[in-house]
C-alpha cells in the first residue's frame, strides 16, 4: 500500500462513471490519478503528467482508439514514456484471441499477446482485481527498470 504513495495513474476512459469508480478505488489505495476522456487528451497528458501507469479503455469513441493509443505510445521517442506500463480495460467480450489464454487464473490475464501492454482487465472490473493488476504492473516495471 505504501508503494502506491506518490505513483500517478492516468485513467484514459470515455465513460465518466467508470473513470470515477476507478479513480475512487485507486485514490483510496494511495495513488494519484489523472483523467483523460479520449486518446488525444490521453496522449497530451502522458507527456505532461508522465504517469507511472496508464489505465486504458480499449473501446473509446472511435472504436479501436485504445489500440492506436498503445501503438503510438510504444513509438514515443522519450524512452521513459515509451516504457510506461499500460493496463487495458475492455468490454470486448471474447473477441477472438483477445482473451483466451492457457491460464486464466484470475480476471487479470497474462501479458497481452498482440498488444504490447502489461495487463488486461475485463469490465466490469472488481476493485480488488484492479488494484492487484496495477500493483503487479508497477512492480514488474520497477524490476525491469532496475
Amino acid at each position: 500500500m505504501n508503494e502506491a504513495t506518490g505513483k500517478t495513474v492516468l485513467i484514459v476512459e470515455d465513460d465518466p462513471d467508470v473513470a470515477e469508480a476507478a479513480k475512487i478505488v485507486l485514490e483510496g489505495a494511495g495513488y494519484r490519478t489523472q483523467l483523460a476522456a479520449n486518446a488525444a487528451d490521453g496522449k497530451e497528458q502522458v507527456r505532461r503528467v508522465r504517469p507511472d501507469l496508464i489505465l486504458l479503455d480499449v473501446m473509446m469513441p472511435a472504436g479501436t482508439e485504445g489500440f492506436h493509443f498503445v501503438w503510438d505510445l510504444r513509438k514515443e521517442e522519450d524512452a521513459a514514456l515509451q516504457a510506461t506500463p499500460v493496463i487495458v480495460m475492455t468490454a470486448l467480450h471474447r473477441t477472438t484471441k483477445l482473451r483466451f489464454y492457457p491460464e486464466q487464473s484470475d480476471s487479470v490475464y497474462q501479458p497481452f499477446e498482440y498488444l504490447p501492454v502489461q495487463g488486461f482487465l475485463d469490465k466490469p472490473v472488481a476493485p480488488t482485481a484492479l488494484l492487484a493488476a496495477v500493483e503487479r504492473a508497477l512492480s514488474e516495471a520497477a524490476e525491469s527498470g532496475r
Binding site: D17, A21, A22, G28, F100, Q104, S105, K123
Partner: protein, 473 residues
Amino acid sequence: MSGASRVTAGDARDLRTEELRARIVWLIRLRWLAAAGVAVVVYWAPKLLWVELPAQPLYLITALLAAYNLVLWVMAHRYLAKATDAAVLWFAALQVSADLVFLTALLQLSGGIENPFLCYYVFHIVIASILLPPHVAFLEVGFAVVLLLGLAVSEASGLLPHHHLFSLWPIELYRNATYLSAVLFVTITMLYFTAMMATAITGRLRTRERQIVQLSESLQARAEELERAYGSLRQLEQEKSEYLYRAAHHLRSPLAAVESMLAVVAEGRTGPMPEKAQEMVARTRERVKGMLDLAHDLLSLSQARGRSEETSRENVDLRRVVEAMEGDFRREASAAGVELAVACSSGVLIRGVPEAVAELLENLVSNAVKYTPAGGRVEVSVLNRGRTAEVRVSDTGIGIPEEEQASLFQEFFRASNAREATRNGTGLGLSIVKAIARAHDAEVQVESRVGAGTTFRVLFPLLSPTAWEGVPW
C-alpha cells in the same frame, strides 16, 4: 450461377436438331451397309436363286449410291455441326428423297413391281417419320407413291424396259392389271399406315419430351426460388445475430459501469453505509450481475450463430482446451463443494474455433456444477470414438425431468427443478452450447434422470490423423 445445367424450351429445340444430326450420321452409316448389301445380293442372287439380274447397271447404281453417300459423309463432317436447323432438316429430307429414288432405280433394274424388295419402301418411310416433321414425312410418302406408280406404269406401258427377275414366273405379271392394282394398293396403303403410325408414335414421344423439358424447367425455377428464399433467410438470421450482438453490447457497457460504481460503494470505498443500504446495494448488484450474465450470454449466442464461416477455424486439441480451463473449473467446483474429475485422451483433434469450444465446455461444466448439490461429483472427459470426438460432462446432480428434456435447448428455457434450485440463470447456456455445436457440425446428446444426474455428450467430427501436423492448440 448454379452448377446444374439449365434446360429450356430453346434447348428442347436444340435437342431435337441435335438428335436429327446424330440420326443423319447414323443414316449415312446405315447406307454403307445398304450399298454393301445390294452388292452382295446382286452377286449372289443369280447364283443361288436362278434369278436374272443386269449386273452391270446394278453395280453402277450401287457405286453411285456409295459415291453419293461419300459426298453426304463429307458434308456431314464439314457442315453439319454448324448448319442451321432448317438446313439440317433439308439435308435430312433430301437424303430420304434420294434414297427413295435409288431404291426405285434398283427395283426397276431387278423386276420392278415383281421384286419382293418392294416392301423396302417401308424402311424409308419409317426413317422419314422419325427424322422429319409429320407433314414432310407425308410428302415423302407421296413422293414414294409417285415413284412407285411411275415405275409400275412406265414398265406396264413399255416406256421402260422390264427386267425379268424369276425366269420361272409368268412373264406378263408386271402387265397384269389385277396383280398390279393388288400390289400397288397393298404397298401404298402400307406406306400410309406406316407413316401414320410412325409419326403418331414419334409425335407422342416429342410431346413427352416437351413435357419433361417443361417439368425440369419448372423444377429448376422452383429450386432457384428455394435457393433465394434460403439465402434471404440466412441473411435475415445473420442480421438478427448482428442486431442481437449490438443490442447486447450496448446493454453490457452501461451495466458494467453500474457494477463498477456499485462495487466501489459496496466495498465501503466511498464511506460507511447503513446496514439496510448495504443489503439493498448487495441485492442490486445481484440483479445487475444477472443482467450482465444475460448480456454476456446473448453476445455469446449471437456470436455462435453468426459464425459458421471457416476463417477463424483451427485444429483444436480438445484435451488442451480442457486443461486450459481446468483451473477455473476446479475453483468453481470447490466453491460449490463438488468433486471434479477430469479424464482426457490425448490427440483428440477437431476442426474448430478454440474460444467457442472452450465456451461450450464452460457452459456445460458450470451448469453441471451449478445443479449438483454439495458432495456430488462432476466428470469432464474427452474421448476418441473412432469417427467422432466426444466431449462428455456428467454430474450426479438434480437431473432434468424427462418431459422437459425436449425443450432443453430452447432459448430462455429453464427446467422446473433448475428454477427451484436457483434463481440465477439466463436459460441461454444450452442454446449457446447447441449453436456452437451446430457451427462445428457436432451433435449434442443428453441423458438424464431426476435425482440421479445428467450426462451431456457433444460429438464432434474427429479430425483425421493426417491433419495433425502443426496443431497450434
